[in-house]
């Protein structure tokens, strides 16, 4: 789960991680007020759920409050497109107004999960403020890593080695040790899958600060942090993804025209692969869960139908233990309610396959069934083409 920079900084400051003074605003007028509060000179930062803001004009220096207001007006008015947002970009609904920092040097510090060792890992580099993945690719020797033992946690002496390795000295190095220990404590206590400070800066007057901050919460741990739900900014998410999440469905919009509903994430990915191979373009990834129920199937179907790009639907359910008649009823319920006339192919396996097929055949929907995955994918692509040809003929 993503949160905004200002929220990450709020959390970090409760862990005694130093951050610049800042205030969040939701209108250009508020931005002007907050800029006055900062003394006029300030940094105006668009809050979006994506990186790469700097180059997209999402971080700008204002020399007086009126200028801050003008910058904010512009940011609020358009969608911000960065390499991480996709071509449609993201709306800016919140702006962080921050004091301007006299930066001496920039560094990179993060705590992330290292899957190979199954541990958290402290990562630091003297190359800060740039894309760390590029640093990792071109000069991996500039990246320092430390795997953290879950029993002992991160210890001061370990953090000190890293602080010295990235070139810090004396009191600033000791500040950095505290900085890293606090980051780790935050990461564990707040159940983060990543805490990234890029850049961490040493100011011209030798103070250590988190100039930017990114926190990703572990979705699996949200149940023990009820406040996280309130922190979500729904303006940053696809509306269909929001409604899918309410029903505990994993949905991702992809941009093609064949809606997909599959049970299980691996099979769902494989289904997209096979559709593409058959010449189709999947409209979405949708996992209804390994053991889908009638309600979930119906809800998933409704979500697919809300996507106006969808021109055909492919359902692939390998239930096994699940009953196919139950799944068929879910599809009929949702498709029937909405008067759906789109071509549908259902491939299902499990108990009561014949009953399920019979229900679908008698439903009056534009539906065909398939026994095999490849067969089903080819069938839906063919039905879609046929439907398109018929439309053109009209």
């Amino acid at each position: 789960m993503n949160i905004h920079e200002y929220q990450a900084k709020d959390i970090l400051s409760t862990y005694d991680v130093p951050v610049p003074r800042g205030r969040v605003a939701v209108t250009a007028e508020q931005v002007e007020r907050k800029a006055k509060m900062m003394g006029g000179h300030c940094v105006v930062k668009a809050q979006i759920y994506a990186g790469g803001r700097g180059k997209a004009g999402g971080i700008q220096v204002a020399h007086h409050p009126e200028q801050a207001r003008e910058i904010a007006k512009e940011m609020f008015a358009k969608r911000m497109v960065t390499p991480q947002t996709g071509p449609e970009g993201l709306k800016v609904r919140r702006i962080l107004v921050e004091e301007q920092i006299e930066v001496g040097r920039e560094y990179y510090v993060s705590i992330a999960l290292d899957r190979e060792s199954s541990r958290y890992c402290l990562i630091a580099s003297a190359e800060g403020g740039v894309d760390i993945e590029e640093v990792a690719e071109h000069s991996p020797e500039k990246i320092h890593k430390l795997l953290i033992d879950p029993y002992t946690g991160l210890r001061s002496y370990q953090a000190r080695k890293i602080a010295l390795a990235i070139g810090l000295k004396g009191a600033v190095a000791e500040d950095c040790v505290q900085f890293m220990l606090n980051l780790y404590r935050c990461c564990i206590e707040k159940d983060c899958s990543q805490v990234e400070i890029n850049p961490m800066v040493v100011t011209k007057s030798d103070w250590l600060l988190a100039l930017d901050a990114k926190i990703i919460f572990d979705d699996n741990a949200v149940f023990r942090h009820w406040e996280y739900h309130e922190m979500q900014d729904f303006s940053q998410m696809d509306p269909l993804e929001i409604s899918a999440a309410k029903f505990d469905l994993a949905y991702i919009k992809l941009g093609g025209d064949i809606g997909c509903m599959v049970n299980g994430a691996g099979l769902a990915m494989a289904t997209l692969d096979v559709l593409k191979e058959s010449g189709g373009e999947p409209a979405n990834f949708l996992d209804v869960g390994g053991g889908a129920t009638q309600e979930k199937v119906a809800e998933a179907f409704r979500i697919i139908l809300q996507d106006t790009d969808v021109k055909a639907i492919f359902v692939n359910i390998f239930g096994g233990i699940m009953r196919c008649d139950v799944i068929a009823n879910g599809i009929i319920e949702a498709a029937g309610d909405s008067g759906c006339t789109l071509p549908i192919v259902v491939r299902m396996d499990g108990s009561k396959v014949e009953e399920g097929k019979k229900l679908l055949a008698e439903s009056g929907l534009n539906v065909q069934t398939a026994d095999f995955l490849g067969e089903g994918a080819q069938l839906i692509v063919a039905m879609l083409k046929e439907a398109e040809a018929a439309e053109e003929a009209e």
Partner: protein, 291 residues
């Protein structure tokens, strides 16, 4: 023969009185698995379907002699259940639960790694030795006893793969779903090692997906140590980067975890990789023929 579970396995179900736990305990029992007990704190002393229920794993193991645990405990208590099973010194813990917090698993995995207990999962379908013993939620009827070992990060995609194998006349020695989370117990290499040593496994089908580098690590290991033919499929060739594709671990991030890289690594390791999910059975056949 088989790996990890066989006719002698005595299984204890943690979370047996929950809806899912009870359903699958029954399914496993019906398949022929020797379910000797269950654990639900606060419900010790009762019986469900003739299976005795205990308050703690320690007592369950002491009384029943169970050596395998299957966990259906909901996410908040799942890591605790793993640790309890580990302390009770069972040989194998299979955690089916989906949604266990990462911080819990980082700790639990370390405890398991320092013990004699093996962990499969979490967020996995479990494992099955066809015709003999099922410790998981997979549909038994698609499996057929035979000589192919299956190891996979996925659930339903594994069912698809197994069905293709069975349809192609290739039975399975043991099928292991290692789980779709970033932090899991046994990884590909741990299971491959077991298959390598199992005299009755003649070939292995490996099913991976985007995210992490476990497939690349497995490919390097196969190249060096594997004495049996391996076929593979990697799901997610068309997945967009930066998005979590259902499984917590299925995400391409920072240029790592792409399907292309995994396929290239496996090819380099001498593995026959199916380019389409419809060709998993054929890929296995081809790998066996070439061996």
């Amino acid at each position: 023969m088989s790996i990890l579970i066989d006719a002698k396995s005595k299984v204890i179900v943690q979370g047996i009185t929950g809806r899912t736990g009870l359903f699958h305990a029954r399914e496993c029992k019906a398949y022929g698995t020797n379910i000797v007990g269950g654990v639900t704190p606060g419900k010790g002393g009762i019986h469900v379907d003739g299976i005795p229920v205990f308050d703690t794993m320690e007592e369950a193991v002491r009384v029943t002699g169970g050596n395998v645990s299957m966990i259906f405990v909901p996410p908040p208590g799942a890591a605790d259940a793993i640790l309890e099973a580990c302390e009770a010194q069972v040989d194998l813990v299979v955690c089916i639960t989906e949604g266990v917090p990462v911080t819990d698993m980082v700790m639990a995995r370390q405890v398991v790694a320092d013990s004699k207990t093996l962990l499969v999962g979490p967020n996995c379908p479990g494992l099955i030795t066809p015709g003999v013993c099922k410790v998981g939620i997979m549909p038994g009827y698609i499996h057929k006893p035979g000589k192919i070992g299956v190891v996979s990060r996925s659930g339903t995609l594994t069912y698809e793969a197994v069905k293709q194998l069975t349809d192609a006349g290739l039975g399975q020695s043991t099928c292991v779903g290692i789980g779709g989370d970033p932090i899991i117990g046994m990884k590909f290499i741990d299971v491959l090692q077991k298959f390598n040593e199992d005299p009755d496994t003649e070939g292995v089908l490996l099913i991976g997906e985007i995210g992490g580098t476990a497939e690349e690590e497995a490919a390097a290991w196969i190249k060096k140590h594997m004495r049996k033919p391996v076929a593979a499929f990697i799901a997610g060739l068309t997945a967009p980067p930066g998005r979590r594709m259902g499984h917590a671990g299925a995400i391409i991030s920072g240029g790592k975890g792409r399907a292309e890289d995994k396929i290239a690594a496996l090819n380099d390791g001498g593995v026959i990789v199916a380019t389409s999910p419809t060709g998993m059975g054929q890929a296995m056949q081809k790998a066996l023929e070439q061996a």
